[in-house]
């Protein structure tokens, strides 16, 4: 057992060392400006854009939560398979436009685009606060995911706090040193890693435990048929509602389109062609969820059960007598999933806080901005780390609430780019009304009609408020509006 742990630890350390080296080397190419740190001098090719997007979307939630859902909630997990493409496809049209606006006005964040069209210090602050509130639980999940994997796979030799600290210590070093360039190259590495590991395990485990994928589902259908019937189960094992399942897809698709760290990627692409190709190829990444689900289903009829469904993947791996090499590689794959999302989020959280929370109130020099961003990367990382160590917080619930808030960004940003008649007052009041409704139904889930996701309920009030208040007020100057709505990509 000692040899095994030793070998696994060596593989993990080797993987972390490679990631660190790649991250540091990448930064030496980028310029020492805010644009270089935040937008990578707008110079990412197709390969890197593809893996940045894929690796950022597939977080520890997909790698650990995906199998966990399939294992405990059965068919409910299929919603994750569908929403990604629905959320990504609109970017084919949106990305070139966002990029054109970014080049024209020098935007590097989502809120800058919004505030450019709807000038308001309050709107900028509101976006910064909502974004940060949505990010911290998301980063926390990634950190705890890294810690859990390290603790489980090394048999407690590396406890959660140390595992999370080591993994994110490395993330901090390369994000601080290289900014977004490091994220591009490390995500390429991590994306390749995740794909290979997921497919290998997704096919290996059903064969090892059941003699094949088909025989596995035959057995599940015979013994646990409720798991193979939509809309699947809730976390408590009760049947989920169709309203909940359907609106989870819609809210997640809208949320995915609007996540600020993904939105910002449109400012980093080399050209429009690269971005369009990234969108076109995105469904290939989505299919990677199939082996992820197979891993979870492989645990259903396993005689023992982990304490929490999210542990099913490391749990199975440790009990299937896999060679230490495979366990070590798995661990690195799971760390990839965690770190590749965590680094992008940390970087985006710091960039957004400076650009949208501080800059509109107090102008800073380029140099001061870069310094402050670096300080904030550490501060946000530390805050998320403290949450990660505290078992009291229900992170999945916090993340769901943040999706409800992120959904509210959609009408605002679409108005900024496509609707001439929208006004600052309309956007601001819509955003406030939608977020308030979303938070209200998050806090009182029993009041939700048909189990509909709170983000969708928020939009139901947001849209009429946005349209009503905008139409009641004076239209913006035509020339100003044309700069945003008539921009040619």
């Amino acid at each position: 057992m000692m040899d095994r742990s030793g070998l696994i630890t060596i593989i993990i350390l080797a993987y972390l060392a490679i990631t660190l080296a790649v991250g540091l080397v990448a930064g030496r190419r980028a310029s020492r400006s805010v644009q270089g740190f935040v937008a990578g001098d707008r110079d990412f090719g197709l390969l890197i854009m593809y893996f940045i997007t894929g690796a950022t979307v597939f977080s520890a939630f997909a790698f650990l939560g995906g199998p966990g859902w399939a294992y405990s909630r059965g068919a409910a997990a299929f919603y994750i398979l569908t929403y990604g493409v629905l959320g990504m496809a609109p970017w084919y049209a949106m990305a070139p436009r966002v990029a054109a606006l970014g080049r024209r006005f020098g935007f590097v964040t989502q809120a800058q685009l919004l505030v450019g069209r709807f000038p308001s210090k309050w709107l900028s602050l509101l976006m910064a606060i909502l974004t940060l509130a949505a990010f911290v639980p998301y980063i926390t999940i990634q950190m705890r995911g890294a810690g859990i994997v390290m603790e489980a796979v090394t048999d407690g030799a590396i406890p959660l706090w140390a595992g999370a600290a080591v993994a994110y210590g490395i993330v901090l070093v390369y994000v601080l040193a290289s900014g977004v360039s490091a994220i591009g190259w490390t995500n390429t590495l991590q994306g390749v890693f995740m794909l290979v590991i997921a497919w290998a395990l997704g096919i290996y485990l059903p064969h090892r435990l059941y003699g094949g994928v088909g025989p596995m589902f035959e057995q599940i259908l015979a013994e646990r048929p409720e798991l193979l019937s939509l809309p699947g189960l809730t976390g408590d094992g009760d049947p989920w509602t169709w309203g909940g399942y359907s609106t989870a897809i819609l809210a997640s698709a809208i949320g995915l389109t609007m996540w600020p760290h993904l939105f910002m990627k449109a400012f980093t692409a080399r050209d429009d062609r690269t971005m369009r190709r990234t969108v076109v190829l995105f469904p290939t990444f989505q299919l990677f969820l199939i082996p992820v689900f197979l891993i979870g289903f492989a645990g259903v009829l396993f005689p023992e059960a982990p304490d929490q469904p999210d542990f099913i993947l490391p749990f199975l791996i440790l009990r299937s007598e896999l060679p230490a090499l495979v366990v070590g590689l798995f661990c690195a794959g799971a760390l990839s999933a965690s770190m590749s999302t965590g680094d992008a989020l940390l970087h985006a959280a710091a960039s957004i806080t400076v650009a949208d929370g501080v800059q509109p109130v107090r102008r800073l020099s380029d140099q001061a901005q870069r310094t402050l961003m670096r300080v904030l990367v550490v501060v946000v990382g530390a805050a998320a780390y403290i949450f990660a160590l505290n078992e009291e917080f229900s992170l999945v619930e916090l993340l769901l609430a943040s999706y409800g808030i992120i959904c509210q960004f959609m009408p605002a940003l679409l108005s900024a780019m496509y609707w001439r008649r929208a006004t600052t007052a309309g956007v601001l009041s819509g955003l406030l009304a939608g977020s308030a409704v979303s938070v209200f139904f998050f806090l009182s889930p029993d009041l939700k009609p048909f189990g509909v996701h709170e983000g969708i309920l928020g939009l139901a009030l947001h849209l009429p408020v946005l349209i009503g208040v905008s139409l009641a007020g004076r239209p913006q100057e035509a020339e100003h509006v044309a700069g945003y709505v008539d921009v040619r990509a």
């Binding site: 299929f78 569908t82 493409v85 088909g214 035959e218 062609r273 076109v280």
Partner: protein
């Protein structure tokens, strides 16, 4: 086919996709059998829509590249620039 038509097809396809994987259509497509490649029916259904999306987006993009290429050649020939760049569909 022209880029404009592909924009429309892409739109319609993804709207159908959204309808197909939510209530009530998905409630009708809710039988794990037949297993295809060993996977339960609902999973294959979702995966098939994802693969379809890949094909539609790919055709859309190649139509765009073709028309952008043709527009560039026309512009080079001294003619007026064609407007075959962006559909600008909101979402």
């Amino acid at each position: 086919m022209r880029f404009r038509s592909w924009i429309r097809i892409t739109w319609i396809y993804h709207l159908l996709f959204a309808v197909a994987v939510t209530w009530p259509v998905q409630a009708l497509v809710n039988n794990p059998r037949p297993f295809i490649l060993g996977l339960p029916g609902q999973m294959t259904w979702a995966a098939a829509w994802v693969v379809g999306s890949l094909l539609v987006l790919w055709r859309l993009d190649s139509a765009r590249s073709r028309e952008a290429g043709a527009a560039a050649r026309r512009a080079n020939a001294g003619k007026r620039e064609s407007s075959a760049t962006d559909g600008g569909e909101p979402r």
